[in-house]
Subunit: 360 residues, 2 copies
């Protein structure tokens, strides 16, 4: 085969594949990626067994051929070229890579040992790529990194005609984000690590979804993905969402975040960075205490509800992270000192966060 | 005491002190910094026993006082304030820090246990701060991080009326940088870690130097530093600088750096990332070989000298790092395949690097 492709386009596609394909593996063939030169261009694919990824780049192909090459080395070589064009030529089991005065002979791998990757050609439903990506990235933080149940390291995707919802929780906090519905009625759990890659790959336009047992396939104009789903039962998160609001406050999300960070400097690191929230008379007073002293900040708020005053304590980090996806004003809905608090945008953005308070 | 200072100015000074003062220490008082409120403003000082640092910021002081406070906490608090002014007030052993609606009571430390820091008021000589900083940062990379002799982790400062020279070497490579001389005749070894801080603190204008036994003191309009010198004999570096040039080549430093990086992708990581340099007929050919294949790049060069051709091998990283401080064209002076090579700017910038080749 003899292939000519644009360095910039090829390098961009490779940088995404490089994030999926492991640099080291007990099964070395998994550190390779597959190049398929066809009349339609150059197809690139790779896998980490949890996520398969495929893309195509425009290329002039004189002869069809398929090879597997070490993913990270190949990507590094292409990225380092000073020329605008990359020329690939297969000689036996050596792939010549050329650009400018530079020539490489790269050993290719065992094509027969490479796992078979196949992507669907029919689609079950469709979502707006940008909204889906935004929803996933706003709840991602609430998934657990380590937990006894794997489902806590997943993000639940609930689809119906009415709405699509993504939910993540580690048992101490919960984040959810609603956006426009789809034609499917389906509930799945996506592994959070694979979601990190999905967020990076979803851009504009539409993403098509195909359901096939334990795999969700996603197709965008540029990428094809197979994503291995998590099995198990996602916890019944609805019951931690506070229903009866006794007191609600509204204030600038940025001001609150900065004030919590300030007060948390003095908070005891060994006691969850505990910050006390005291609401009364249209003011929110934040206080902390630790080995080196005490800190206090007072913010003016808009206050409503049947309860005239309430005191709660939160882990500072949980509050500042929950405020992360919010712009403008935050609405905090409280139902008691020992019941979960709800944080959402005063002008509903689809996003809500629930934080369980520390014991008073 | 009651002190008012500008948050921005105070936070800037604290961020430099924070880099010097350790966050943890077997002697906890060393994690503190000293605040001295005087008629002239607020003086701040800290130490890690290798480096003492002092600065002053403008402040309105109603009553003179001296306290020590946990350096990192104090800095974090000041940085987090939303107000333009910081108010400090001492009550017993608590320092009140106030700004906007925020109030902190910070426990102060044991002033008597704090080490006595003193800075000179007379100066022995003077250097241009920007040139000194530039020279130090261009040779810094060549100092060893770990070595049997501490002097290899140091940077030699040689001062005479004719010129000032800084030199660093780890035995495999050497970097030196010459600039305008001083009125002193002196030779010292500065610890590389302290040099890293010095580089950040030296800006425009002049820096005054004071010699006192094993300590070098440096004074700029903003900072006072005491720097504990390394003892021992710096190796006789002059003998590795090649004298008799048999072949020299000239080419773009950036092009060479990029080409070495490209070729090094295929080089054997377990064999020093060996890249072969072959000069002949006004071309420089770079080649490498490793488990995954071979790479080659050819660059046009301007070639001079009595020897028509030479082949050497270098560790790729040593060459690319040596080229780092060079702009424009690099002049490479060779005297043989197994003798050190000299790299410097074609238009002399004061900087030279010597790299010992790998065995051919």
């Amino acid at each position: 085969m003899m292939i000519q492709a644009t360095k910039k386009v090829l390098a961009e596609s490779l940088s995404s594949l490089e994030r999926i394909v492991q640099a080291r593996s007990s099964n070395p063939i998994l550190t390779y990626l597959k190049l398929e030169a066809t009349g339609a261009g150059l197809r690139l694919s790779g896998t980490n067994l949890e996520l398969d990824l495929e893309t195509s780049v425009a290329a002039q192909v004189s002869e069809e051929a398929t090879v597997v090459v070490p993913a990270h080395l190949f990507s590094q070589i292409v990225r380092s070229l000073s020329s605008e064009l990359v020329e690939l030529e297969l000689h036996g089991n050596e792939l010549n890579i050329q650009g400018g005065g530079f020539k490489t002979k790269l050993q290719t791998g065992d094509l027969d040992a490479y796992p078979e990757l196949s992507f669907p050609t029919h689609f079950d439903t469709v979502l707006d790529a940008r909204e889906f990506s935004r929803a996933l990235s706003s709840v991602r933080y609430a998934a657990a990194t380590e937990a006894f149940q794997a489902v806590f390291r997943g993000i639940k995707l609930e689809m119906s005609e009415k709405r699509t919802r993504v939910v993540a929780s580690d048992g101490f906090r919960l984040a959810l984000h609603d956006f426009a519905g789809s034609s499917a009625e389906k509930s799945l759990i996506l592994p959070a690590r694979a979601v990190d890659e999905l967020i990076k790959l979803l851009k504009d336009g539409e993403v098509h979804l195909t359901f096939a047992g334990s795999v969700l396939s996603l197709t965008t104009p540029r990428w094809k993905l197979n994503l291995k789903l998590l099995e198990g039962e996602f916890p019944d998160y609805e019951r931690v969402i506070p229903r009866e609001v006794k007191l609600s406050v509204r204030l600038s999300a940025t001001q609150l975040r900065e004030a919590v960070n300030r007060v948390a400097v003095l908070a005891d690191k060994t006691a969850n960075n505990r910050v006390e929230f005291q609401v009364s008379g249209s003011s929110l007073s934040l206080a902390s205490e630790g080995d080196y002293g005490r800190a206090q900040d007072v913010l003016e708020v808009f206050q409503e509800g049947t309860e005239p005053a309430l005191t709660l304590a939160f882990s500072a980090k949980y509050v500042t992270v929950a405020l992360g996806p919010l712009e403008g004003e935050v609405l905090i809905q409280l139902s008691g000192s020992n019941t979960p608090a709800l944080f959402k945008a005063a002008e509903d953005s689809g996003y809500s966060a629930v934080v369980v308070p520390l014991r008073v």
